[in-house]
């Protein structure tokens, strides 16, 4: 039941925050804080002593299955393994960071803001935990609406355009995924006589080449938009730039990660053959995303937009790694997911802090801030260095592991993607140069980081250093889950190689 509580508590907390705020102003943020801390405590309870105890259905530490719409084969099925445990931790961590960023930034409609914040976190948690495809789709859509409101109500000048663009991109691609889910459901149902949305049962559904490829593309479309993969990335710079700071942190740190998680958990294990066929193309697109994102980042003058484009580049590494599909690359992808969430989240946090103080995001109107706000600038330097992949920090481990893994699969792509690291160094240092060094703006009064801001950033800093020096806990936690995923995909490829004659024996189990 703990898994259901992880989702239910933020949902109820959101409603509570909204209703309480109108009666007692100022309570909403404390409610949100209490909810997130309580949830974090609950998650900590779930950390087991050993991760490598594998049950019959997979390496799940705990799972929950309740009948929801049994007539249609829909269950409220949540499960936790090492992979999504790490992601749930990340969700809470960044949720708390977003809360810290919003604490003073949001001044109007506070109750509604925290309602949306908690609901989007609940939706993301649901996406990470759901093992029923209907439920997964349900949460996938559920996290969009609050995010849409966060951008369209609390965003900056061009928020209407950005929020609608974000919503249309994600919703239409989501509908394609729904079609693919239904296609899989009916194919599985016809073959086995059991109509179910249960992920574990749908694994290993024998598919013809064409239908497997079409269904895989349906799923991949939704995840590639979220990730985002070039050329489906155009919603991202607008959404990131116009969202309030907390929204940007959640978008970059968590929402993009749901796309990566979806490819890992669903696309490749459900359709290993089609995914293998599409892998060269997908990896090629990923390399393009790495280089193109970095190139575009170089030409931005808006702080948040620049960071947004670096996300395109960094998430390209994740997509590259996932389609390389070996243990090393997947471990690297997971570390990259966490570290990118932390470092980019921190950069958006800083961009928000600067905007709150200077009322601009234009790098051209900054400059020389170091003298006025040394703590803020120091932090910015640290996270810029993390983002460029400085050895000793988590991002370095991630990118290094990914390149090692990809090198085994394709040497040219590994070499090309390594070029992305160089441009990362250029744009990261350029941010520092443009914003914090150089001649100071005249008459600049700038408050340095407050205690709350410093605490949030220090926590992220500590996490990045820790992951950079000792990433083993994450490897250990995720290892059984990732092994299970790769093994399922591999065994399934073998069963697919001996195609069952379709339709001949509809009641045979696959």
């Amino acid at each position: 039941m703990i898994l259901a509580f992880l989702i239910l508590i933020p949902i109820c907390g959101g409603v509570l925050a909204w209703t309480m705020e109108s009666r007692h102003p100022g309570t909403a943020r404390w409610i949100a804080l209490a909810v997130l801390l309580g949830n974090l405590g609950l998650t900590a309870l779930l950390v087991p002593a050993r991760f490598d105890v594998v049950s019959a259905v997979g390496p799940f530490l705990i799972s929950l299955e309740l009948a929801w719409m049994p007539a249609l084969g829909i269950h409220f099925h949540l499960a936790l393994d090492g992979l999504n445990l790490v992601l749930v931790f990340l969700t809470h961590f960044l949720g708390l960071t977003a809360l810290a960023a919003a604490w003073t930034e949001i001044e109007h409609k506070i109750g509604f803001f925290y309602f949306n914040l908690l609901w989007v976190l609940a939706g993301i948690m649901g996406v990470f935990l759901a093992l029923d495809l209907f439920l997964f789709y349900f949460f996938w859509e559920m996290m969009l609406i609050p995010m849409f409101f966060l951008i369209s109500v609390f965003g900056h000048a061009n928020r209407t355009y950005a929020s609608i663009k974000f919503f249309l991109f994600t919703q239409i691609s989501g509908l394609l995924m729904l079609l693919a889910i239904l296609g899989l459901y009916f194919i599985h149902g016809r073959l086995t006589g059991r109509y179910t949305f249960n992920y574990l049962e749908l694994l290993g559904t024998p598919l013809s080449d064409v239908s497997g490829m079409l269904l895989m593309l349906g799923f991949l479309m939704a995840f590639a938009v979220k990730l985002p993969a070039v050329p489906l990335h155009t919603w991202l710079p607008d959404a990131h730039t116009e969202a309030p700071t907390a929204g940007s942190i959640i978008l970059a740190g968590l929402l993009l990660k749901t796309g990566a998680y979806g490819i890992m958990r669903f696309v490749v294990p459900l359709f290993p053959k089609a995914a293998a066929a599409a892998a060269p193309f997908a990896m090629f697109l990923a390399v393009i995303a790495i280089l193109y994102g970095a190139l575009l980042a170089l030409s931005q003058t808006d702080f948040k937009r620049l960071v947004a484009y670096t996300s395109v580049s960094h998430m390209g590494f994740v997509m590259l790694a996932i389609f390389a599909w070996n243990q090393l690359a997947l471990q690297g992808a997971l570390i990259q997911i966490i570290c990118h969430g932390l470092s980019t989240g921190a950069l958006f946090f800083l961009a928000g802090a600067l905007q709150e103080r200077l009322h601009t995001r234009e790098l051209g109107r900054m400059g020389g801030l170091w003298a006025a706000a040394p703590r803020l600038s120091g932090m910015a330097l640290f996270f810029a260095l993390a983002s460029l992949g400085l050895p000793g920090l988590g991002n370095f481990i991630a990118e290094f592991t990914i390149l090692l893994g990809v090198y085994q699969v394709s040497k040219p792509l590994a070499v090309l993607s390594a070029l992305g690291l160089i441009s990362a160094a250029v744009y990261s240092l350029w941010i520092i140069q443009a914003a914090f060094h150089g001649p100071p703006q005249p008459k600049l009064v700038l408050a340095d980081l407050s205690g709350r801001e410093s605490a949030a950033l220090l926590a992220m800093l500590a996490a990045l250093v820790f992951l950079g020096l000792y990433p083993q806990p994450v490897f250990t936690a995720a290892e059984p889950a990732l092994t299970h995923l790769t093994r399922t995909a591999a065994t399934q490829k073998i069963t697919e190689a001996v195609p069952a004659p379709p339709g001949e024996n509809p009641h045979a189990s696959p």
Partner: protein, 480 residues
């Protein structure tokens, strides 16, 4: 006629009696509250008669009407929707000083016509129901006589409904000339027996005319032109009635007429339906993008929704009744909520139907905005709301039967459709442009029945969106 026949007919009889009672009450003494109270009592009595009547179903009462589970469910839906419309009308009409009482009389009569439609098993009953419904609607649509736009809408509806009735009659005559039957059951059997390759031209023409008439009533493209004008011109509660009861009864009739005929058996008809469904989804959603008036926007969105509904009919064969009924119920609830909010916000002079009226509503009326947002999201088919389950059900029926063309059209255009729902939602959550300059009009306090109704509707939308299995199981049991 025996006693069970009368019991089976009880809802119709009660409706007719209460219409007469309201008329007499108005003749004796005009009183808005008592007219409303009498009508609601009548509807309540008819609703309570439903469980009684259930014991005698299915039962053919006279050659014209059949009281089966299908009729039972739709009668319930129509009665409940009419009750909601009446509650909304009370506050809406009480702001206006002149003679609101007859509206209830007309609403009851229109509901009676709709109930006859869903119970019809014979073309004569179909025509009877349709005319009772239409004639009441002519007057209802033009009920706010001081508004030119309402009068115009009323006359438009009169002309078009009369033309479509003529189509219906002519179609029925042609079919009768060929088959010699007017009974739906006999007709279905005869149509099934007809050689599928080359059906007689006269029969095909007759069916074509019939479909045109139905298409007019449901506002399927290319017979949709009247909808936006009528939606905009009619008083908001009446628009709600047209959108829900009138269209719902017609859609139910469509199910009754065409489920037994085995549509794929008739390639010409099948193709025509497919084209109408696709065109409605496309035209409805695309034209809605251009609207700035919320009532017109909802009119175009209703065209798209009728397209989805027709697609459901084509998708699901024998299961069509269940899928369509679920979708229709969800649609009725959501649309009632939308027009309910518009009715509440309307002033004496005009309806609050422009985006400016809604601009910044969140800051004045957060709860109403919440309800409206929920209803719009339900129409858009977003999870947690009933609309999502409805659309999911339709799409899954389409995927199951591999109707890829219509499924893709549905998915693409409902994606397009999101855009205009979101625009309305964003308008409500954005601060007014003229905030501080012009004091925003004081909104009337909500009366308890209206609050109760809106709470009921939004609870229903969320409940069906999160926990639909009970309702689905009931539908399967009743109609499956």
């Amino acid at each position: 006629m025996h006693r069970p026949d009368f019991i089976a007919l009880a809802p119709l009889l009660i409706l007719a009696l209460s219409a007469a009672a309201v008329m007499l009450a108005i003749a004796l003494r005009r009183n808005h509250l008592s007219a409303m109270g009498l009508s609601l009592t009548g509807l309540g009595a008819a609703l309570t008669a439903l469980p009684l009547m259930a014991r005698y179903t299915p039962r053919t009462v006279t050659p014209l009407l059949i009281m089966d589970h299908f009729a039972l469910f739709y009668t319930g839906l129509i009665l409940a929707a009419t009750a909601v419309v009446i509650v909304l009308s009370y506050d809406y009409f009480s702001q206006k000083d002149d003679l609101p009482e007859e509206a209830y009389l007309l609403l009851l009569l229109a509901a009676l016509g709709a109930v006859i439609l869903v119970c019809a098993r014979h073309v004569a009953a179909l025509f009877l129901g349709l005319e009772i419904l239409s004639v009441s609607l002519y007057a209802l649509i033009a009920y706010t006589r001081d508004r030119n736009i309402s009068i115009e809408a009323g006359i438009k509806y009169l002309v078009l409904a009369a033309v479509s009735a003529a189509f219906l009659l002519f179609g029925a005559a042609l079919i009768y000339a060929h088959t010699g039957a007017l009974d739906f059951q006999q007709l279905g059997a005869l149509l099934k027996a007809e050689p599928s390759g080359r059906p007689a031209l006269i029969l095909l023409a007759g069916l074509g005319f019939l479909v045109v008439a139905v298409g007019f009533k449901l506002a399927l493209t290319p017979f949709h032109m009247w909808t936006p004008d009528i939606y905009q011109g009619a008083p908001a509660p009446v628009t709600a009635f047209v959108a829900t009861v009138s269209k719902g009864a017609m859609a139910a009739l469509l199910v009754r007429l065409f489920t037994p005929t085995d549509l794929p058996h008739w390639p010409a008809l099948y193709l025509f339906f497919t084209a109408m469904a696709a065109a409605s989804m496309a035209a409805g959603n695309l034209l809605a993008l251009l609207q700035t008036n919320v009532k017109r926007l909802l009119a175009y969105s209703s065209i798209a929704h009728m397209g989805y509904l027709l697609a459901a009919l084509l998708f699901s064969g024998q299961k069509a009744a269940v899928v369509m009924t679920f979708y229709l119920t969800v649609y009725v609830v959501s649309i009632l909520g939308c027009f309910g909010i518009i009715a509440i916000l309307s002033s004496k002079e005009r309806d609050a139907d422009t985006c400016q009226d809604l601009q910044g509503l969140f800051f004045r009326r957060p709860l109403l905005t919440g309800v409206f947002t929920t209803m719009l999201l339900s129409l858009a088919g977003i999870p947690l709301t009933a609309g999502f389950i409805g659309k999911f059900y339709v799409v899954s029926a389409g995927v199951e039967n591999a109707h890829w063309f219509l499924v893709i059209i549905l998915v693409v255009f409902s994606g397009v459709g999101l855009f205009y729902y979101l625009r309305v939602i964003i308008a409500m959550f954005s601060p007014s442009l003229d905030e501080g300059l012009v004091p925003s009009p004081a909104l009337p306090a909500l009366s308890a029945p209206v609050v109760l109704t809106l709470t009921f509707l939004s609870t229903l939308v969320l409940w069906l969106g999160v926990w639909p299995s009970w309702f689905l199981a009931t539908l399967e049991k009743m109609l499956g």
